[in-house]
């Protein structure tokens, strides 16, 4: 009993419990600060949904069991690969192969295929079909040289990708096995028994956070001391690969191997300068094959499938011949150090707060990919534009749109008819399958617009040919099919940023043709133009590819526009709003802030004189700083001052503080029946308190928050674009389809739509956290392949913006039909990874609109896409999400997008300022407000509150048009997550113990005093 009243005991216990209580309180505060992240990681919510028992199910699941759906998707992935993989050459009909062929598979990548890219879009490919399995299923057990296969598997050599976080270009490694190891292992003796085919796989990985290295500095600048036996260019062959091919060809020469077949397993176009050096029999470009796509490749080799893919990029013999290459990378402003500017590749880099050090100039203008090569080629043939001694054949290995089959096709009866309303052209052509196998075939329609004196004088550029239509059909051997393709006149326009400041359709001759590829198209048009003008062509200057003719004027039609038109297309066909310049501040030659720092864009009026050869050195001026590069909050040039300028420029009408948190009985579900511009929206928004609005806007890391005041459920959003990755919040991947370029290379809208439907269904069926369901996909990607070296080319469709838009539109529409809203990414001009956080991207408006926005326009206008994901980079000096012209001018006013625009990952990236974003038209942040909550305390600011209401409306609009609303008129009840309850319980228990101990301490003191008395 005496011990019970020991003072020392209770002093000690009181102290211990008090400390434990204090620890719990501190833990509660700290974890509460990170609660959004913790909830996401633990897959719990801070609200509970009380279901509406009478809820209408807006999106019923498809009538497949999970197993049947998985099986269907596996087949669909194969079909996409089967129609996207492109046959580049096939000497002496080396393909298809006999079913009893025996294979020796070469390269360490043959046992470790590339299934997709790395980074946020990466997926777990542990269960993906291997080349071994695919070949065996088609060619039978025992078809593969097992000794060689086992040799590679156990060789210890492995391709290395750059890490997404903290990674850099210097980490990429091919790591091919040196030939000496084959000999040491004695594996060469196995070749003879498996000599029908030497199947060589050349793979190059790419991914988020690091572009592919294109020269030695990409390695040395990142501390790497070797170039992986390349000259620093990752898209060229390494010494080991060359050595491997040399030896394989020696074995072919001595009769050991009968055929050598090449598989190009990469979404980044390898430089194909080596093909002429090796006696390779056939080559297939297969991109990244997804989970099951390699099965289709095996079927293509066997002839069970007939190749029908078409290239979506120009494949080059010299990747550095592109006029974009000299300006590819991140270049520091000359006074970057003086101003304390910083850069970042990832949000773990401290520089992510400022992200204002680098810039890149798109000096090539519209001349990206085939728009450069084919245009310069035409000018060379005609002797125009100071084309110089241009050698097209030295640059281009295979042109855009190219692809062979196991049969041949003949085109006849090409015809073009303008529609009666003058808005479209009906283009038709008869195609005959002249071979002996049934096969699918894509007809590609190209047009050529006049390059006029007006253009030359006013800085407008025209490509010699542009894709404007396509269709794909199955044609039985010997049969003829008529293709009828509608071409929109709108697609013939050019953007004149200098005089008309809108889209124009110039007077002059427009030429249409059905080309087998872009080069075939330009050859057709060259013939027709020459014939029309009575000019004799210098045949030595003409060049054509296998399978093409040498230009056929009968496949060309001319349409003459009699009048220069700068009014018809100056109005958006989607919204009726005026279209005018939005990006003067991204063009060095128009933006006053750059003072005299001007550049010369590449022009076809002077190819040789204007071809970019060096990077223009740029210096940050005071105005560039104040207009967006600033990392200061205060002062005349700080962000706060910029906020005031935004308010004055864009929100001067917002002088009355909107209602917040008013009583009302509207629920989010009620808005499903309301139009976007219904006045009822205002009543709904009045009910939302500022705190809920800003939480909805600001804490959107892979989710949207619930809004209890209007019974809006929270949602889960996750990465694409190859499928549901579930990577960032854990969880298991669903089907991983091919890289996006293979999807586009199918030229098959129906297949892509089917895939979109299945991706949407995967989201619908993804396991929820009990309260929220997966309703938003971060994808597809709609940037373009400005160069072959972008790390994320696997997430983008093509070098061609128009094709990107066409494919994106059908994928987006199909995903959304399943009640899943898209965030097409990365809006916009995020065509490289180097310096991606905050890099200033300088471009002229014609290129921005005609190339870089087209994919997104397809998503929103044609596909009805509800959302976009804005990019890390800046347009000029303005972060994309705070670029009013992009976010409101184009996205809302011209395209009419109604749903939400989310940022790319904003965690710790303070330059993605909430105030500037909402004032410009950004809605949702893929991050947390922690550490960058610039909206806090501004609930009395009419402009900020008005902008937040609009942002909230866009987010709500996306959610109510998703399958999240299958809950009906449910109630959203706030609850405390288990982990928070646990900490709170601990705090209470320790508080009770502390109090009890303190009481006992007092009692013991009193007792002690009494005893002493």
């Amino acid at each position: 009993m005496k011990k019970l009243f020991s003072k020392k005991l209770w002093i000690a216990l009181t102290a211990v419990f008090a400390v434990l209580m204090a620890v719990c309180i501190a833990a509660y505060c700290v974890t509460d600060f990170f609660r959004t992240a913790i909830n996401a990681a633990l897959q719990v919510t801070d609200y509970k949904v009380i279901q509406d028992p009478d809820a209408q199910i807006f999106y019923e699941p498809l009538a497949y069991s999970d197993e049947a759906l998985a099986e269907y998707e596996a087949q669909l992935c194969e079909d996409i690969e089967g129609e996207g993989a492109t046959l580049l050459f096939n000497k002496d009909n080396a393909l298809p192969l006999a079913k009893d062929s025996k294979f020796s598979c070469f390269s360490q990548s043959s046992v470790d295929l590339l299934y997709g890219g790395t980074g946020s879009g990466s997926m777990d490919a542990g269960d993906a079909t291997t080349l071994h399995s695919a070949l065996t299923s088609v060619f039978g057990e025992g078809c593969i040289n097992q000794d060689l296969w086992t040799f590679y598997v156990t060789s210890g050599y492995k391709r290395v990708n750059a890490a997404t976080t903290g990674g850099n270009q210097g980490q990429y490694r091919i790591n091919e096995v040196p030939w000496s190891e084959y000999e040491d292992a004695g594996v060469t003796s196995s070749f003879a028994q498996y000599g029908d085919v030497a199947l060589v796989v050349l793979a190059r990985s790419g991914g988020e956070g690091a572009d592919l290295p294109d020269d030695e500095e990409c390695f040395t600048n990142n501390g790497a001391t070797d170039f992986d036996s390349t000259d620093g260019d990752y898209l060229r062959l390494s010494a080991e690969e060359k050595d491997m091919l040399d030896h394989i060809l020696q074995y072919k020469a001595n009769g050991t191997f009968k055929k050598v077949v090449l598989l190009l397993n990469s979404a980044n176009a390898l430089q194909l300068d080596f093909l002429a050096d090796y006696d390779i029999d056939a080559a297939l470009w297969i991109g990244d094959v997804g989970m099951t796509g390699i099965n289709a490749v095996a079927e293509l080799l066997s002839g069970d499938r007939i190749p029908s893919g078409r290239l979506v990029d120009t494949f080059l013999k010299d990747n550095h011949s592109s006029p974009a290459m000299v300006n590819f990378g991140a270049f520091a402003y000359s006074n970057a150090d003086e101003l304390g500017l910083e850069s970042a590749q990832n949000n773990t880099d401290p520089g992510a707060k400022k992200a204002n050090r680098n810039y890149v100039i798109y000096q090539e203008g519209i001349y990206v990919g085939y728009r450069y090569y084919e245009t310069r080629y035409e000018d060379y043939v005609f002797g125009n534009g100071n084309a110089g001694d241009y050698d097209y054949s030295a640059d281009v290995a295979y042109p855009f749109g190219y692809g062979l089959s196991y049969t041949t096709f003949e085109y006849n009866n090409f015809n073009v008819e303008p529609s009666s309303d003058g808005k479209t052209f009906k283009v038709s052509v008869d195609v005959t399958n002249t071979g002996d196998v049934d096969a699918k075939h894509t007809v590609q329609i190209y047009f050529s617009s006049p390059y006029t004196q007006y253009d030359i004088q006013n800085g407008i550029e025209k490509a010699s040919v542009e894709l404007c239509g396509f269709d794909k059909k199955l044609i039985a051997a010997g049969d003829t099919q008529t293709y009828t393709i509608t071409v929109n006149k709108e697609d013939l326009t050019s953007y004149d940023a200098n005089v008309a400041k809108t889209y124009i359709l110039e007077d002059g001759d427009y030429w249409f043709t059905a080309g087998r590829n872009a080069h075939d198209a330009v050859n057709n048009i060259i013939r027709a133009k020459a014939q029309d003008a009575g000019v004799t062509l210098d045949e030595d200057r003409m060049y054509s590819f296998e399978g093409d003719g040498n230009g056929d004027a009968s496949l060309v039609a001319k349409w003459t526009n009699g009048e220069f038109d700068d009014t018809t297309f100056a109005v958006s066909s989607a919204t009726g709003n005026q279209i005018t310049n939005r990006f003067d501040n991204a063009d060095l030659n128009k933006y006053a802030g750059t003072a005299d720092q001007k550049i010369t864009y590449l022009t076809r009026s002077d190819w040789t004189g204007t071809f970019p050869t060096e990077v223009k050195v740029l210096t940050v001026t005071d105005q560039m700083w104040a207009d967006g590069l600033t990392h200061d909050e205060s002062g005349e040039s700080g962000r706060a001052a910029l906020v005031e300028r935004y308010k004055e420029a864009y929100w001067s009408d917002a002088t009355t503080l909107p209602t917040q948190g008013a009583a009302g009985d509207l629920s989010a579900i009620d808005m499903r029946e309301e139009e976007y511009d219904s006045e009822v929206w205002e009543q709904l928004l009045n009910q939302i308190p500022y705190s809920e609005m800003t939480a909805l806007i600001g804490d959107g890391f892979h989710l949207t928050q619930s809004v209890q005041s209007i019974n809006l459920p929270g949602t889960l959003d996750e990465n694409g674009p190859q499928g549901l990755t579930a990577s960032l919040v854990g969880g298991e991947s669903a089907m991983a389809y091919t890289s996006e370029d293979i999807m586009a290379a199918t030229f098959n809208r129906e297949l892509v739509a089917e895939m979109g439907k299945c991706i949407g269904e995967d989201f619908q069926r993804a396991p929820s956290n009990g309260e929220s369901v997966y309703t938003g996909i971060y994808g597809p990607g709609a940037n373009i392949h400005r160069t072959p070296y972008s790390g994320r080319n696997f997430e983008y469709y093509s070098e061609d913006g128009w094709l990107s838009g066409e494919i994106c539109a059908v994928e987006v529409a199909a995903i959304q039909e399943r009640g899943v809203y898209v965030f097409t990414k990365h809006f916009a001009l995020n065509d490289q990874e180097e310096g991606r956080y905050g890099i200033s991207t300088w471009s002229n408006e014609q290129a921005i609109r005609e190339l870089y926005l087209e994919g997104f326009e397809g998503s929103v206008v044609k596909g009805g896409g509800l959302g976009v994901m804005t990019s890390f980079n800046r347009l000029g000096v303005v972060w994309s999400g705070s670029h009013r012209g992009l976010m409101t001018g184009v996205l809302r006013d011209e395209w009419g997008m109604k749903g939400a625009a989310i940022t790319d990952c904003s965690v710790m990236a303070n330059y993605m300022d909430y105030r500037l974003g909402v004032l410009a038209g950004q809605d949702l942040w893929d991050g947390y407000r922690s550490g960058m909550d610039t909206l806090a305390g501004l609930d009395n600011d009419p402009a900020i509150v008005s902008a937040c209401r609009l942002a909230a409306k866009h987010i709500i609009y996306s959610v109510i048009n998703s399958h999240a609303m299958n809950i009906g008129d449910a109630q959203i009840i706030p609850v405390m997550p288990w982990w928070q309850a646990a900490i709170l319980s601990a705090t209470i228990i320790f508080a009770v113990f502390t109090a009890a101990s303190a009481v006992m301490l007092v009692v013991s003191i009193v007792r002690s005093k009494k005893q002493n008395k």
């Binding site: 913790i38 990681a41 946020s120 990832n346 960032l728 854990g730």
Partner: protein, 375 residues
């Protein structure tokens, strides 16, 4: 006897509570605990490492993994976060997380090659998360595979971690820790300021590196006349160092903002002031005064007879107001803002009407405005 029982009960209750919370803190779904010892043994074991210079600012994210393929077909993967440089034995090492991930494995013949098929995952609310799978092949007795693991749980980025191993590797967790433990190499310095959880490495030439734990969080400059006048400038803010020349000590407080809003205040002390090099102030400025008000440290810089700036770190931002000032009969300054952006109004409200009494030691005291009369 009753006392003992009572105390034992109390201790047991505390232990139970602590166990519950320790478990909750490390919880990966409750299904990652190792099986009870018995017949279940380790069949194969691997190790892999997540490291790199880019993680220097996030040293807690660095870690080694011990992947154990158990004889019952289960997988247990432990994690040791060596970036915290805690080399204690496993039983008392809080940076060692047994059962960080769980999973299954089996022997298989993949594409005709004998291999180990491995899957690891976490279980959260019964749902598999962060699942990763790999195939390990035997190369002369050494197995290797790669698994895609998240850098920091919930942070959203993954790395391919290469694992190598075989039938033997570590006898126990202590050996695993010992094999992967790192020694912290502090940056070069002439002396240090220390605080609980933090260190400032004072270097020649006027630079000082501020560390929180083992992560460098800021690079500062300092000025010191060797006679007791010293300042440290970090993130644009100048902090006065209190020097006790008699005891040869110096001290200052530094507020480190993690994610901006959540802050930790370090009370740094240098036990050897005389070791700090004499360095002249690099950028002479006007008179600077500091004082606290409304739970923030304010810095007032007198620019001329009428103008000044006053600023503080507010929610992660260094906010500086341009002001004019007027001196009253008692020498206290009343400030008025100049061209203040509207967005700053809520921030200014925190000190609006406050008078500042300046002292010779470059401190200042806030005199709060009288409360307004109601009704």
């Amino acid at each position: 006897m009753k006392v003992k029982r009572w105390l034992a009960g109390l201790v047991l209750a505390i232990a139970a509570i602590c166990a519950v919370f320790a478990f909750a803190g490390c919880d990966n779904g409750g299904e990652t605990e190792e099986e009870a010892p018995g017949e279940v043994t380790i069949s194969y074991q691997f190790s892999g490492v997540m490291d790199g210079e880019d993680l220097d600012s996030f040293s807690f994210a660095k870690g080694a993994f011990w992947l154990k393929l158990m004889s019952d077909g289960s997988v247990v993967m432990d994690r040791y976060s060596f970036g915290n440089y805690n080399t204690s034995p496993a039983a008392e090492n809080e940076d060692y997380i047994p059962g960080y991930m769980s999973g299954e494995w089996e022997t298989t013949s993949r594409d005709g090659v004998d291999a180990l098929s491995i899957e690891v995952y976490m279980l959260t609310s019964g749902v598999k998360t962060n699942a990763a799978s790999g195939t390990a092949y035997d190369r002369n007795g050494t197995y290797s595979c790669s698994l895609r693991l998240e850098v920091v749980q919930g942070a959203g980025f993954y790395r391919e971690i290469e694992f190598t191993g075989g039938t033997t590797l570590y006898a126990d967790a202590d050996e695993f820790i010992a094999d992967n433990a790192k020694e912290f190499v502090p940056p070069q310095s002439v002396t240090t300021f220390t605080a609980e959880g933090g260190t400032v490495y004072v270097q020649e030439g006027g630079t000082a590196l501020i560390y929180s734990g083992y992560s460098q969080v800021a690079e500062a400059t300092y000025a010191n006349d060797g006679e007791g006048n010293m300042t440290v400038t970090v993130g644009g803010q100048t902090i006065d160092v209190t020097v006790d020349t008699a005891n040869n000590t110096a001290s200052f407080e530094y507020e480190y903002a993690i994610y901006g809003d959540y802050t930790t205040v370090y009370s740094f002390t240098c036990a050897d002031y005389s070791a700090i090099p004499v360095v002249a102030a690099q950028t002479p400025a006007g008179d600077v005064y500091t004082g606290t008000y409304s739970s923030m440290t304010w810095t007032l810089t007198i620019l001329d007879d009428a103008s000044c700036t006053i600023g503080a770190n507010m929610g992660g931002f260094n906010v500086v107001f341009n002001c004019t000032y007027a001196e009253d009969a008692d020498g206290a300054l009343t400030l008025a803002t100049v061209d203040m952006p509207e967005a700053y109004a809520p921030a200014w409200a925190a000190i609006d009407g406050v008078k500042w009494q300046l002292a010779d030691d470059n401190t200042m005291t806030a005199i709060a405005p009288a409360p307004s009369q109601q009704g």
